[in-house]
Symmetry: C2
Subunit: 331 residues, 2 copies
Amino acid sequence: MAKVTLQDIAGVCDVDISTVSRALRNDSRVTTASRARIHAAAKRLGYRPNLLARNLAGGSTRTLWFILPSLDASVDYRLVRHASHHANIRNYTLFTAMHDCDTFTSPSSQSLDHYSELIERAGQGLADGAVILPRRFYSDLSLLKDLVLRGFPIVFIDNYVESLPVPFVTTDNQTAAHELARRCVQAGAREAILLFEEQNAVAKARLAGAQTALRELGVPFVEMHQVPADWTPEILGSSVAILGSAQHYLHQFAVRHAEHLTGKNLVFGVFDDWLGEPSPARTVIIAVQDCETMTHRAVNNLIAQIEKKTQEAPGMDLIPIREFKILSGSF
Amino acid sequence: MAKVTLQDIAGVCDVDISTVSRALRNDSRVTTASRARIHAAAKRLGYRPNLLARNLAGGSTRTLWFILPSLDASVDYRLVRHASHHANIRNYTLFTAMHDCDTFTSPSSQSLDHYSELIERAGQGLADGAVILPRRFYSDLSLLKDLVLRGFPIVFIDNYVESLPVPFVTTDNQTAAHELARRCVQAGAREAILLFEEQNAVAKARLAGAQTALRELGVPFVEMHQVPADWTPEILGSSVAILGSAQHYLHQFAVRHAEHLTGKNLVFGVFDDWLGEPSPARTVIIAVQDCETMTHRAVNNLIAQIEKKTQEAPGMDLIPIREFKILSGSF
DNA sequence: TTGTACGCGTTATCAA
DNA sequence: TTGATAACGCGTACAA
């Protein structure tokens, strides 16, 4: 790895290092002749600018980080994809940093360490700002709080941490779940099972939306995080809707209670994605989040913070669902 | 974003900047007293070391890049996860860089630009080495070739580019597909449809393995990338195996030919993952790649190149399948 | 149009 | 044990 520097080129071309620097940046104040000569020499020697040095001198990296726990849900990947796209448009490079990557031997502690380390590094000059997707509540918010207080540009996406004055953009989950539940009933369901957990803001909003819709429609439902003691699957009627945040939860639940669900007329209501056949449901209704708009808003807000150096008014940016898809079996 | 530097701390504590540097790195040659004083001041002022400067001075970033087109297949995510884990163990930080993130308006050119940009940046001081997953054949290999020739440490994973002398690690796809086909026949299939494309090394190896197995067992098959002109789905018998690289391809094929497949006794053979019920198949046999071993080998090889500064003997490291899973329907 | 000199923040090598 | 000083590679006012 012989590293070629501006100095080396300067030596070969017999000019000063600063002339080389200007020539390679196509500064108009350099003779066309020597500019060509210098470019040729640079190419011949295999010169590559050192980004560390350039960023250190320039005071900016034009780099953003997208910090999130994992990429195992396809919606996460879609967010990263679109965020990267919008960052590129604004002439920034976006890097993905995941902090649940290291949860093999000792899940909780390792993961927390890795999370802290990322938050820590974000403010150490490697990035100009960060989009953060906080999937759960972190026990230790001090590092994040420090970062915010020091004025490091941050935008939350999808989920948020209530106690921090940071702008965030998320789906209007309550309205989305309301509509999703309504459509499930419209598709024939006469009772419903809600699989939304209560532990994060997103699921909480979805639970609230679905509850409201079902109450308005007079459709009875149970929530699986607080199953009534006397409830057994046997009391189910023949037309049931099951709503949850991801295929994973619905399928797991269906398999576990397969004996009671077989033969029923099932409608699944889910967010973002469904792979394969709807089975055992007759129909799957999918609420697809608008990842493109979400990331567009998030990245623009972040860059505004960076370039204007002024914190955007922190607040919630609620994005509507992009579309509702209906999936019916082919067999 | 008031940036606090060593200089600021030095001013407050009335010592030299180099003493501060040593104190904060817990160098034993600093008085316990002043070390405490300096640490306190650093904490009070909210000092964060600038990683750009540190890496520039130190000549190394202890950072690896995992460059890949996308993360839409779950196996990709698993590779990144494990690679990050192994990098952390060796005290490196691994970043994920995707180059198909930018394929919305003008797929081919944009994506190529982004790919080139990443390859270019990898060698510009931001990383010490890179694990590269080349999903397809890139039209322009010159940048990559340059990087290799300049001695930048690289390891290919999963797929590879034949003309480059770079070590790579991949699954023993031929043996895997051979076994997968054998198991499908064992599960009752009397003929087979192979959906492996011919365009990349991985699929080619899988195709070859499956072909060999089926010939050995005397089971007739068709390849869907070169369907015989006179072939129509109607000639299918009642027990058919369909083999492909991912759920996506199998399901798409099944839906397209639903009318001819309904009622048949189907066995699916697939790699890595299957979400939801096997429907329309009776059984899905899944060949799960050993991502942990693959990334372990790749990262270790990469770090060996970096630290010993000697190119490891380039060659193919073939990893066996981790396990074969069998998925049967619950309904 | 080109060269000089300094700054970016940190580490490391000398003296003292 | 500490302080001065030189790298690290590049950008850029300022002077020539």
